[in-house]
């Protein structure tokens, strides 16, 4: 019996539903914690960030315009495909983070469950975050949360998959599109997640994954005029105050860095923080 020589995967970016290399041609070495070679990941440049924002912007109207039920179905489908790929995720997590199979499995379990939890919110959060407002006059008045638009995310850096899911999934629930900068040290799961998303009915451009240096890419996203919100959950180790200052130029919504269990806990406010409350008035009369 001959032994099979494995065919390693080339990890590229995930932008606009495709898997391009970095336009810069740069890659960086992803290793195990002990320094063993795992793969060369694409090192995204500012132009890749720009392309990702363009793709994300183009996807907003379709994703935000889909019915909430449809978004929930698509997000649930992602969880199904994630489950089907769990072995690959476990293997990659174990390798990148240097953890046992059991710990890796637990992370995948948690990530899948978290994704399902968020998927279920798609057609409910507006009922919880919205209001019928009893104004003093003959008006129908209702407040509904709407997606803020394009959300740039610096994913938590410690975990390969869970932090990514904990920041990307809530942004998608309301209909935002996402440009996420993956964990610099553990980027492989992010690209594998991209493969899951690419095969899960999620319209192209709704999620765009960049790998490389958050310190290099995040400032370009923070200062990009066409980004509506900046989720700095995973940016605690960066010069995040400068990012918040840059975001002020176009009054982006900013989620400040968060670490530990809080950063990956299921949270309705993570959904609502990336929404805008729209209030609509209309007169009421029989006459």
């Amino acid at each position: 019996m001959s032994t099979h020589l494995s065919v390693p995967k080339t990890y590229k970016l995930f932008v606009g539903g495709a898997f391009p290399r970095s336009e810069s041609g740069r890659v960086y070495e992803v290793t195990t914690p002990k320094g063993g070679f795992l793969a060369n990941a694409a090192q995204a440049s500012r132009k890749d960030a720009r392309d990702a924002v363009v793709a994300a912007r183009a996807a907003v109207s379709g994703w935000a315009g889909a019915t909430a039920y449809n978004r929930g179905q698509v997000l649930y489908r992602v969880a199904e495909v994630l489950e089907g790929r769990r072995a690959q995720f476990e293997e990659e997590i174990a390798a990148q983070q240097g953890v046992s199979g059991a710990v890796a499995r637990a992370q995948v379990d948690e990530a899948i469950d978290l994704w399902v939890w968020y998927a279920g919110w798609a057609d409910k959060f507006a009922q919880v975050a919205g209001n019928a407002n009893p104004v003093a006059g003959p008006y129908f008045n209702i407040s509904v949360p709407e997606p803020t638009g394009v959300v740039a995310v610096v994913a938590p850096q410690q975990s390969a998959l869970l932090g990514l899911v904990a920041t990307v999934a809530p942004a998608l629930v309301a209909g935002n599109t996402v440009v996420v900068v993956a964990s610099e040290a553990h980027p492989l799961s992010a690209i594998t997640l991209g493969e899951v998303l690419a095969t899960s009915d999620l319209p192209k451009g709704v999620v765009n994954v960049l790998t490389g240096s958050p310190a290099e890419i995040a400032p370009w996203l923070a200062s990009h005029d066409d980004v509506n919100a900046l989720d700095l959950t995973g940016a605690g180790e960066l010069e995040w105050i400068d990012l918040e200052i840059a975001a002020a130029q176009t009054l982006k919504r900013v989620l400040r860095p968060l670490a530990g269990a809080d950063a990956v806990a299921p949270s309705l406010s993570r959904i609502t923080a990336l929404t805008e409350t729209k209030t609509v008035w209309h007169p009421k009369s029989l006459l």
Binding site: A129, N133, T148, E244, A247, R253, R270, K278, W281, H282
Partner: protein
């Protein structure tokens, strides 16, 4: 004399009992400020009304310290029910002194007395009533059980609705259990100082509400004070941006209500007479000094001429003049500085090729005045179609299809409000869905209510004021 001239019907200022000078209101007392005091003037006459203290950094220190002490020792130990009762008291006192507050507001701001009397002051009372009831029901605000207050809120408000903006800031902050240091605008401090008297009459514990007057430097000192937990600002996008930068990295919570350039979209099936009223109310209410003003009229091309004709006829019946006359529709521009800005942008509008029209207006000799103005032939690229003028100036643009109307309406960095006029329900709802604006008025405009959240998308700021959403700005529990 023509009947339409209406004999003057001035509101009496006799019930005003103003002091010649006002200090800062810190820790329950009026005290001297260490900055150089300044006069607040009536924009309709340019005559001084009173001298007002200016707070410097040391005064801000005192005010924040008083607010901190009141928060730690008194306000945070009080039950929600008792906080609510104080707010109910304030609401009642505002109602009792409504006439006086309205006169003071019109005197200091230049807005017509019928607006301060029928809109501003009643809404101020309503705002305190609404949030008073929330104080002991915060568990039901949607932020989890027993949500905590933030601490000391530093609040900076504009001159266009001086007392109403104070109510928008103070009522939810206090209901949620915070204490406040509020800075009114330099040109309109008067009603905030009368409000300080109301706070005293209500017996509010000292230091829960502090009013510090002054100019931009005073505001900056307040926003940047290290012992402030929350910053709330209403004003220009430029200043809002500066504040967002200053607050970055401090962990202070921030809400911003900034500028706007609202589209007011009129479809060919609009209820035309009400649409005309809505357009007029949208841009000439409060001299156009309204962040959510419908300053861009988007009218379907097929009815453009008719709408403009009707609008001109209607504008000719607007009465511009003495803010204290009960028949005045459009009052004085708030300041010489603002008047200059409106003039400059209007001249740019003409230079860019738009066609300018105003009804004939006779103005008093003194004071700051600007005739209601319509620009037609405005292109989306013109500055008067993009920049917030914050005055009684309407830019008229056209569209051909609903999709084009939506595209033009959203083609702005702002996103505060929008209007839709149509008799077709399905279209109204679909257009409302697609407009990137925090408040959408369909077949109405410029309606406000304490139960109704207000605030913008994009560069119009973030956070909501009013309703249950307005509480979230002053409680722990949100990510932001």
């Amino acid at each position: 004399m023509s009947f339409l001239d209406y004999a003057p019907a001035p509101e009496s200022t006799a019930l005003l009992n103003l002091r010649p000078e006002y200090g800062l209101f810190i820790d329950g007392e009026f005290t001297d400020g260490h900055g150089e005091s300044f006069a607040t003037i009536s924009p309709a006459t340019e005559k001084p009304i009173a001298r007002v203290a200016s707070a410097d950094a040391s005064d801000i220190d005192r005010a924040v310290a008083a607010a901190r002490k009141a928060y730690e020792k008194r306000w945070s130990t009080l039950s929600g029910r008792d906080r609510g009762k104080y707010l109910f008291r304030i609401a009642r006192l505002v109602q009792e002194r409504a006439r006086e507050l309205a006169v003071a507001e019109s005197l200091d701001n230049g807005k017509p007395i019928k607006e301060s009397r029928d809109v501003d002051v009643p809404l101020v009372a309503a705002w305190f009533f609404y949030y008073a009831g929330w104080a002991d029901k915060l568990d039901h605000a949607g932020l989890g059980a027993n949500p905590r207050a933030l601490g000391v809120a530093g609040q900076v408000i504009p001159w266009n609705f001086p007392l109403l903006m104070l109510a928008w800031k103070i009522a939810p902050a206090l209901a949620a259990g915070n204490t406040v240091v509020l800075k009114p605008a330099e040109t309109t401090p008067l009603t905030a100082l009368l409000f300080a008297e109301i706070v005293q009459q209500a017996g509010l514990p000292a230091g829960v509400v502090n009013i510090v007057t002054g100019a931009g430097e005073t505001g900056r000192a307040l926003v940047n004070h290290t012992d402030v937990n929350k910053v709330a600002f209403t004003g220009s996008t430029a200043v809002g941006r500066e504040i967002a930068r200053a607050v970055a990295g401090t962990g202070k919570r921030l809400t911003l209500e900034l500028g706007g350039k609202a589209a007011n979209i009129v479809f060919d099936d609009a209820p035309i007479d009400q649409a005309i009223e809505g357009i007029v109310n949208g841009i000439f209410f409060n001299q156009g000094h309204v962040c959510c003003a419908g300053s861009r009229l988007l009218v379907q091309e097929s009815i453009h001429d008719e709408v403009v004709d009707r609008l001109k006829a209607r504008l000719s019946t607007l009465r511009v003049g003495d803010p204290l006359d009960k028949n005045t529709d459009v009052g004085a521009i708030n300041s010489a500085e603002q008047l200059e800005r409106i003039r400059t942008l209007s001249e740019i509008g003409e230079a860019e090729g738009a066609e300018r029209w105003s009804p004939a207006c006779e103005f008093p000799e003194n004071g700051f005045w600007f005739a209601p103005t319509i620009f037609t032939n405005v292109a989306t690229s013109h500055r008067i179609a993009r920049e917030e003028i914050f005055g009684p100036v309407l830019s008229v643009l056209t569209f051909r299809t609903p999709a084009e109307a939506i595209a033009k309406a959203n083609n702005t960095p702002y996103g505060l409000s929008a209007g839709i006029w149509s008799e077709k329900g399905s279209r109204i709802l679909a257009v409302a869905d697609k407009l990137r604006a925090g408040v959408v008025w369909a077949n109405t405009f410029n309606r406000f209510d304490p139960a109704s959240p207000f605030g913008g998308y994009k560069e119009s700021g973030f956070g909501r004021e009013g309703g249950r959403h307005g509480l979230a700005a002053y409680l722990e529990g949100g990510v932001r």
